[in-house]
């Protein structure tokens, strides 16, 4: 299936995007917040950020719905070890090529339980996600199923791959492995 590889010039209202997601995915995806981003002398709303939360098996479905609206530009993945689970936030943008003040930021949060730290890779849909998936793999220990290149990206060649620098549990670095630079 060939997906679009261009930015649309037809933007949709942010609220309309929310309705599409609600309509198509119902309760499976939680719409956490549609945040107004204001600026300028008149404090006008210039764009929105949409925060979603979804179970991990729904991410690709969310992504495919975004693909129907525009090519979802991938910014980055942010993440954290939250104790019981590892949080991953996928940051996308829609309509960034559709005109002034038309961009909609879409952040999709996924919680991965510690006993199953796997996610489907999105690189077949968005090749630009390569470095972020490799970074989250080496820093937080997430396995992205189907990623073409599993080599380290930022950590040194001889890094002990059992150590995941951003983890806060036993997989993370021990205090004695951290050197404080004064």
């Amino acid at each position: 299936m060939s997906r679009r590889a261009e930015y649309t010039d037809k933007a949709m209202a942010s609220e309309a995007v929310v309705s599409v997601i609600r309509e198509r995915l119902g309760d499976a995806v939680e719409v956490v917040e549609l945040r107004d981003r204001k600026a300028g002398l008149s404090d006008a709303v210039c764009f929105h950020d949409l925060w979603l939360r979804c179970p991990k098996d729904k991410l690709l479905e969310v992504l495919d719905i975004l693909f129907e609206l525009d090519f979802p530009f991938f910014h980055v993945m942010s993440g954290n070890d939250e104790g019981e689970a590892v949080l991953l936030n996928y940051h996308f943008s829609l309509f960034q090529g559709s005109g002034r003040a038309s961009r909609l930021g879409v952040a999709v949060s996924v919680y991965l339980p510690k006993d199953d730290l796997t996610m489907p890779s999105i690189q077949d849909r968005i090749p630009g996600a390569e470095y972020s998936e490799r970074e989250m793999r080496e820093m937080l220990g997430i396995n992205f199923m189907g990623m073409p290149d599993e080599s380290l990206v930022f950590l040194p060649e001889d890094w002990d791959e059992r150590i995941k620098p951003w983890r806060r549990d036993e997989a993370g670095p021990k205090p004695e492995q951290i050197r404080e630079l004064s």
């Binding site: 930015y7 300028g40 530009f73 961009r103 620098p165 670095p173 492995q177």
Partner: protein
Amino acid sequence: MAVGEAKTYKIPIGPVHVGLKEPITTWLEVDGERIVDIKVRPGAIHRGIEFMARERNPIQVIYLAERICGICSFAHIESFVRAVEDAASISVPKRAQYIRTIMLELERVHSHILWAGVACYTFGYDSAFNLGLLLREKVMDVLEAISGNRVNYGVGTIGGVRRDITPEAATALEDMLDYYRREFAAFYEVATEDPITKARMRHVGTLPPEDAVRYCAVGPTARASGLRVDLRWSSPYEAYADIEVTPIVPQDYMGEVYGDVFDRFLVRVLEVYQSLDIIEKALLGLPEGPLMAEPKLPKLLALLKAADGVGWSSIEAPRGDDTHVIRLTKGDENVTWWKVRAPTYANIVSWPIMFRGQEIADAPLIVNSIDPCISCMERALVVDKKSGSSEVLTKEELLKRSREKTRRLMGR
């Protein structure tokens, strides 16, 4: 291997190489002079900045963010403080928004002129390089007049700015605008109309528009491939809400778009003029008022300690979209976590497309064409495994080893 069968060789460029300003390794697979494939291996200067931020409060992290990069230091501050302001729902006074915009554009001017100069240097056009660096001094002087520093200005803070545009600074700015409008044309002509420049940059390192989309290229790299994308336009922040910015794409100026190194050069040079116009408008429309939402630091820290939420900011840095995401937890003074995605991190993914089929001699030019900022891209590494073979060397240890080697050579 049979005679005549194609055999490829692997050649490394980097981690340290004359064509690179910062360390990164690119393994080129070559067949004769032609590049067949490339593998990029960053990681040489990952400093662990996101990790360090976990033990610092947001005010302290501002200065850490500023040191991610020496060129776009204000862009990183801007993106970071905007993410914090988003997480803590702080609104920024109008005057501060305008001053931030002026700083962002000054930084773009100096970054683009530096890049254009270095690009000329890469293919041996040293007189254009010297001219570029000479021109750049003016904006550095103005940055110094405003902030006291040539790099790492210390101007941004959460909820505002720390330095005002004084009448003297405004005069320096106006003087700079005149200077560039008068002098920059020489560089523009020298660089764009020179036949050698065109011969070296045209059809080199081409990134087709559909690949620029799929590989999520950002900033001048994306615009040079003909994509009309600019966060100042698609999602205005600060004074860009009042000052309209339209993305600069080669087809509007040259009638056609190639997506090659020349187009990346052209976009940056034209954006210098655009930045001058933005600075002029921001200066004319500079509103009166306070510089900070909360000038008292202890009060601001208390407010940030009480904040709970995730903040996200994507801004248009000189090299493209700079994204910061931050989490503040109620009751916790420090930043819970922080993610930085510098523009180079996004643009480097499309290097393999740009390199395939090119000649080795063009490799440094292609590398430089996205204006890579390796320090920006790589931020981590305070963690090291003492028990194993790798160790982070401190300056003292390096000095000690260096002296030991001298002694060894002297036979003592």
